[in-house]
């Protein structure tokens, strides 16, 4: 059996899955299949990068809406809160 032919056929199948994979639409088995084969399939990797660039542009391209001014002060106030509650040592009298 021609090993290169196998690899080409498998890469074709992976390329087929790339649009779904890029948009989080593959099931766990398909996701594992794509991730195992990506490094050996340059075309699949190139298409995935294209889709990631498209997604970046879609996220950045939404209509811009100014957040309410209170959000800035609320965020900065939230950074002052400790992430873990402080536990005082128990002292026995």
């Amino acid at each position: 059996m021609n090993r290169n032919l196998d690899r080409t056929t498998d890469c074709d199948a992976i390329v087929e899955l790339i649009p779904d994979y890029a948009f989080g639409l593959t099931d766990p088995a398909e996701t594992a299949r794509v991730e195992a084969a990506l490094s050996a399939c340059p075309e699949a990797t190139a298409q995935l990068i294209d889709f990631q660039n498209i997604q970046n542009a879609m996220r950045a391209g939404v209509a811009q809406v100014e957040p309410p001014p209170r959000l800035e002060s609320r965020l900065m106030a939230a950074t002052q809160k400790p992430t873990e509650p402080r536990r005082l040592p128990v002292r026995w009298a």
Partner: protein, 183 residues
């Protein structure tokens, strides 16, 4: 200084818990993050919370930016997107949390191709994609829905959803490449 060097310095300062640096990050990207959260959640209260959660994840170093993997803004908006989608899913499961949000979140599920008009990139590309495919891309990307959830929402067969969505995404990539080659 190179803009990327500025970003690297800013993120290093945030890692040292410098709240002035977080404030600078918010001033630079707060509107972009809030706008994306609002696009996904279609509700001001939820978008504010998702925006705050996004910046707090960065402040608490729950995830860190690798400059080798892409621009700071893209990384930040990816976190914002995932945060907003998680919030949308939680609201769908527990719609009583924000009563005024119920109507908005449910309304998002209806097919509203006109919302594409808000998007700079898609405004130019979407005219070349069949409307039924564009709507499915919107439901998957901004609505965070799976194939089967879209099938349920649109009352279309699962196989039709898969075929149309994949075809729409391929078409979107072709158009994207054509647009990129022209610039």
């Amino acid at each position: 200084m190179h803009p990327e060097s500025d970003d690297i310095y800013l993120m290093a300062q945030i890692a040292r818990q410098d709240d002035h640096a977080l404030h600078t990050l918010y001033q630079q990207y707060g509107t972009a993050v809030y706008s994306l959260a609002y696009r996904v959640l279609q509700n001001t209260t939820l978008a504010e919370e998702a925006t705050q959660d996004t910046f707090l994840k960065i402040w608490q170093q729950k995830t860190t930016w690798d400059p080798a993997k892409g621009a700071l803004k893209s990384w930040l908006l990816t976190i914002a997107h995932h945060t907003a989608i998680d919030r949308l899913r939680r609201e769908a499961r527990q719609p009583a949390t924000h009563p005024e949000a119920i109507e908005d979140v449910e309304a998002f599920g209806t097919l509203r191709p006109e919302t594409w008009q808000d998007d700079i990139l898609l405004r130019s590309l979407i005219q070349h994609i069949p409307a039924e495919q564009a709507t499915l891309i919107e439901l998957a990307f901004f609505g965070g829905l799976s194939h089967s959830e879209i099938a349920e929402r649109t009352a279309l067969p699962l196989g039709t959803i898969k075929t149309r969505l994949r075809s729409g995404l391929r078409k979107l990539r072709e158009l994207w490449l054509e647009t990129s080659n022209h610039h």
